[in-house]
């Protein structure tokens, strides 16, 4: 039985909005070799959006093969039907969530403060979230990435900034995180793949996300140096990958070799 592959997307499949060289061929090869694939992303977007983008880049992918921290969040929120939700600070995500959930703006009516991308951050928004958390609202986050690759190049701050801000003024820590490396995300991925942790491999460019997920859940890991992590970052990392590759392009060879058995 071939192991199932849990693949990151940004910095793994594409970078700065363009496919990483050799990745399309590698994915095709992996499919031919019979590896079950699941894309697991910490970007809170609908899977359809990523499926369209991948298809557009020449990587045939079905939405059912994509799991994002938004998918997992929506499954969690389905169990909190009446909860008032406050999103800090991503208007696009808020508009998406407003379709099925109650968005609250009055601290007294907020049951869940959801920390996510900081793109629409303001002091006033932080203050509303602060007041709600002080009154006992739950503290959730889509992910905890310090920064992500910008489509225009370089890196930009991400959800860790929002979490850090709220932690810095309330002293509270996130209670539920739907993205990597949370147990929720590991469980969701393994469930979707229908396998146990011993039958999967996590592949991605993030030490704090992909590799930590594997480390926490007992899944083997492959770190790729095609995204946010440089080789010298490894020395300071509390979690270490089982394998390190320059990019996803070399994954088929690694899996065929004796090392991965």
């Amino acid at each position: 039985m071939r192991p199932a592959l849990i693949l990151d997307v940004d910095g793994t499949v594409w970078r700065y909005g363009r496919l990483i060289p050799g990745v399309a061929e590698a994915l095709q090869q992996l499919r031919r070799d019979g590896y079950p694939l699941l894309f697991l992303s910490n970007n809170p977007v609908p899977p359809e959006l990523y499926a369209d983008r991948l298809v557009g880049m020449g990587v045939p992918t079905a939405p059912s093969e994509i799991l994002t921290c938004l998918t997992i969040l929506e499954a969690e929120l389905a169990q909190e039907a009446e909860a008032g939700l406050y999103v800090v600070a991503d208007d696009r995500l808020q508009a998406h969530l407003a379709e099925g959930h109650r968005i609250a703006a009055d601290p007294a009516a907020i049951d869940i403060v959801l920390a996510t991308g900081p793109y629409d951050l303001t002091y006033d928004r932080l203050n509303v979230a602060f007041q709600a958390l002080r009154r006992g609202a739950n503290f959730w986050a889509t992910n905890a990435d310090p920064f992500v690759l910008a489509r225009s190049g370089g890196e930009v701050p991400h959800t860790a900034a929002v979490i850090g801000a709220l932690q810095g003024c309330t002293g509270r820590t996130v209670e539920r995180m739907t993205g990597k490396p949370s147990p929720l995300s590991a469980r969701a991925a393994l469930e979707r793949l229908g396998c146990g942790p011993g039958e999967a491999i996590v592949v991605g460019d993030g030490l704090d996300t992909d590799i930590a997920l594997g480390h926490n859940a007992g899944i083997r890991t492959v770190l790729l140096l095609s995204g946010v992590t440089r080789r010298e970052d490894l020395a300071d990392s509390p979690v270490q990958p089982d394998f390190v590759l320059d990019s996803l392009a070399s994954l088929p060879d690694l899996l065929r070799g004796p090392a991965a058995r």
């Binding site: 900081p118 303001t122 602060f130 709220l166 810095g168």
Partner: protein, 282 residues
């Protein structure tokens, strides 16, 4: 009227002339918020204490983490009935300037903070919001904090800019309740850059203590610091080797003292108790 005498918590363990001998007080540092004033009111005994210091001819000053222009604060105190000159106030922006003067003279700054902070720093430094140019990022509470500012700080700090904060307070009390203070901006920036702030220059830092001592011209062991905060006033005094007196008119309650990591030499109900205490030591 006070109903009990100032309490001496414990004899100090520091080198002094010796127990029982008279102390020579050569300088006095007074905190402002929670010690001399609270919002738009003078606290009990504040005016008498300041009048006492002036009458005795003791060097003294106000030392505050406020970002307000000394002029603005002095006018406010004067309006409240305590005539004050700007020269009697040492604030956090002055400590930032001193730190920069020592460590990064001529540094181009990106400032996250209320307008008075940027205004006071702009006197000696060029302000810029181009991350490529920023030599130091100065972080304080900022009601206009937003993604744009976060990203500029992020890019500048990733490029190696110096990272300063005026204070570490999580929250700031307002008439409408507490609101996020510097801790929020700092938490955001530290978490996404994975950097820790290089220096916190407001109280209780050595920068503030040095500024005050220089202005007073008094040696630390003959200087008193009086304030309402264990973390900023008492801590500053202990680190610098000053005599410390806590007043209970601000953020500290008597029960906080039991589990405090730093303890003051004296605990006063208010600044009104200071003249009698100093008289005994002079």
């Amino acid at each position: 009227m006070r109903d009990r005498p100032p309490r001496r918590l414990r004899p100090t363990g520091r080198a002094r002339a010796g127990r029982g001998e008279r102390l020579s007080v050569r300088g006095v540092i007074l905190d402002l918020d929670g010690t001399v004033c609270l919002g738009d009111a003078l606290l009990p005994g504040a005016r008498q204490a300041v009048e006492f210091l002036r009458r005795k001819g003791l060097p003294w000053l106000f030392l505050s983490n406020t970002l307000d222009h000394p002029q603005v604060f002095a006018e406010r105190l004067t309006r409240l009935g305590l005539p004050t000159s700007p020269a009697e106030i040492v604030n956090a922006p002055m400590a930032v300037l001193r730190y920069l003067d020592r460590h990064a003279p001529g540094a181009r700054l990106f400032v996250i903070g209320l307008p008075p902070l940027a205004e006071q720093l702009a006197v000696a430094h060029r302000l810029t919001d181009d991350p490529q140019e920023v030599d130091a990022v100065v972080v304080s509470v900022d009601y206009e904090f937003d993604y744009r500012k976060l990203e500029i700080a992020f890019q500048a700090l990733r490029r190696g800019a110096r990272f300063l904060a005026t204070n570490l307070d999580r929250t700031w009390p307002t008439p409408d309740g507490e609101v996020p203070d510097t801790g929020a901006m700092l938490g955001a920036i530290e978490a996404c850059t994975r950097r820790k702030v290089d220096a916190v220059v407001g109280k209780p830092s050595a920068w503030m203590a040095e500024l005050a001592l220089q202005r007073l011209g008094s040696p630390a062991d003959q200087t008193w610091v009086v304030g309402d905060s264990l973390e900023s006033d008492v801590q500053l005094g202990r680190q610098a080797g000053m005599t410390t007196a806590l007043v209970l008119t601000g953020v500290t309650h008597p029960e906080d003292l039991d589990r405090a990591a730093v303890r003051p030499d004296f605990v006063l109900d208010s600044l009104g108790d200071l003249p009698a205490l100093l008289d005994a030591e002079l």
